[in-house]
């Protein structure tokens, strides 16, 4: 970091001066924190680091992932280390992939008032309100596709006036889609059966009996699928 431009940020209201090139997460560490909560993958995949902030002088509250967002001058911030979302318990084997299932497990989706706060808050740029609409209508495949990049950070749910836990609706839709709606894979079932019947035992046993030189020979001359 050669040209160190610095900015002032306020972590839980306390002022710290940090390099402008840092993410919110790194800036907290620069300020002296050893993170316990609010830090998982550090790469935008796990949703551990939801953060709420406001820039000095502005009205709007913003939400983002601390590991994916650079600090800005005058940022007042706090993390949302835990969100008490509602997850329903179910047996995936006993469900049907339709709107009734959604209505039974997450009836609050029908209380959506269309404020779009969920979508505005999503750090993954998902159209959250849209995927909830798909869930309401039982269009589970669309709900699954639309919610696919969800990191379950909870920001959407934290802003919802209707008390919807969107990300739990999303995962239910995805699991129903993967299990019941997506086409079954014939070649997979066939191979699993072959293995159970012992059809691949002999070829594996033969390879296992080879010494390193023999294996090397086979490896170096193996044909490679185009």
């Amino acid at each position: 970091m050669s040209n160190k431009e610095m900015v002032d940020i306020y972590i839980l209201g306390k002022k710290y001066t940090v390099p402008a090139s840092l993410t919110i997460m790194d800036s907290m560490e620069y300020a002296g924190y050893q993170l316990k909560r609010g830090c998982g993958c550090r790469a935008g995949f796990c949703g551990a680091c939801a953060t709420i902030y406001r820039i000095k002088g502005e009205k709007e509250l913003k939400v983002s992932l601390a590991c994916q967002t650079k600090v800005e001058d005058g940022m007042y911030l706090t993390q949302i280390p835990f969100f008490p979302g509602d997850k329903k318990i179910y047996d995936i084997n006993k469900l049907e992939a339709n709107a009734d299932t959604m209505a039974q497990l997450y009836p609050e989706i029908y209380s959506c008032i269309g404020c779009n706060s969920c979508t505005k808050g999503c750090p993954q740029d998902l159209n959250v309100m849209q995927y909830i609409a798909y869930a309401q209508r039982g269009e589970l495949e669309k709900c699954a596709e639309e919610s696919f990049n969800c990191v379950m950070c909870g920001i959407c749910a934290s802003r919802c006036p209707a008390g919807i836990t969107h990300y739990q609706v999303g995962i239910l839709a995805r699991r129903l889609n993967g299990k019941y709606i997506a086409p079954p894979t014939e070649h997979l079932h066939k191979r699993v059966a072959e293995i159970q019947e012992g059809k691949h035992d002999a070829s594996l046993k033969e390879l296992m009996s080879k010494n390193t030189d023999e294996l090397k020979e086979l490896y170096n001359s193996r044909d490679i699928e185009k």
Partner: protein
Amino acid sequence: MYTAQIRELIKKVEATRSARLGSDFPRMTPEQREEVLKEYHPDYKEKGFRKLRIGVNQGDKVPLELADVLEVKSRLGNIELDLNKVHYDVDVLIIGGGGAGASAALEAHQKGANVLIATKLRFGDANTMMAQGGIQAADKPEDSPAQHYLDVMGGGHYSNKKELVQALVKDAPDVIKWLNDLGMMFDKEEDGTMVTTHGGGTSRKRMHAAADYTGAEIMRVLRDEVLNREIPVVEFSPAVELILDSDGKAAGAVLYNVETEEYLIAKAKTVIIATGGAGRLHYQGFPTSNHYGATADGLVMGYRAGAELIFADTIQYHPTGAAFPPQIFGSLVTEKVRSLGATPINSEGEQFVFHLETRDVEASAIIRECLGNNKGIETPTGVKCVWLDTPLIEMMHGEGTIEKRLPAMYTMYKKVGIDMRKDPILIYPTLHYQNGGLLIDEHGQTKIENLYVAGEAAGGIHGRNRLMGNSLLDILVYGRRAGTHAGQKSKDVEVKELKLDHVNAYHQSMEENGIQTDETSPMILPHYTHGRE
């Protein structure tokens, strides 16, 4: 956002692009591979390693940073603990809530065992969540478990434990089926055929994926299922030491509540270590792609208890870590970017290595291009690196491919103002994976009775080098195997008196070997200051 200076350099890549498109760059010969590994792979750098002075692997070399956490005192050294004050009493204790831990929990629960998962961060804050590229399994007609076996052995330079490889490739199709039945959304054709691609070192296209959120999709589904089965999970409660009983068998662990700073005793009939990798030890100063909790805790606890390490000196540096901009430094650029056709390019706009060599070879070739041939690019922050020519992907597979098949990558770069569909990206190897770990058998058992290891903490399966897509596979194959076996076995175990004698013995041995230190381990959480003085 690229600076004007970098923009200027991109022109050289653009100038050669159309000529490179469709031309085959030759793979290295076996001799060329040996040579580049010897000269440029960090594992061959003697100064990065030292020999262990105590324990089962006394005399074996391991990375300095690992030795530094193995050869120090237990965190429990000066702490008074009443081992009879048991807070959790279960059949199977699973340490670590990643993919290996979750799959072990499901199978042990299936066997009727009373299971507890104790994990360091939140359930699912784990390397598994970050895996993008895919998972291997030989389930297509033109492929076979034997073909898969050959690839694994060749990739591992024939050092792998054969029985472990056999179990890996044989269980693989069933793992995919298991995930599919749990509702994982695999990439499929309309007729249900799996969309599969090559990975470095594969001879068949057997990489299954869920876009480039493969690990996240696996983790989300497994976590949801563990919660549905109401298996208890305690978060922010890492294990800091194993507990053995008076017969020397594994019998639980001491957990540390990082918030209340209390130590809690978890008693169990069988124990599964599923704590994952060690990227956050930053071997040889490399940045890492790993999650925040990857600090080799499982290796430390297991080693103190007498479990054996294997191949702990072999580390996987992923060829393509992000080198620019600094916010994403070290983050992974999934191998799938190369599987889909992007190739490494030097400062002159030339390709210098086949894009799908095994990872160790590919990474070494990139290091050679920068340090040996001096044909790297230097970023404004002084990092040497090379290009990965991503626009090739859409020229080969059509517009929209990147957004559809690599949404996580596309989003990561978009957030930092780079459009990888139009511009190449800058990459350099990043510390990615520990190839070795604690030695296991086909059931995930160590030589300490009732102690199992699964996932990245285990060693032997991949030998000295793992191929992409075989780790997500192994954590599930061995997570399930360990869970099943430990769940079953727990029915016949009677735990004797709980002891930490092995810790005292380890301290004693340190003293006898003249090792003096006040440092303690496991590390639990890394400490970063980002250059603050």
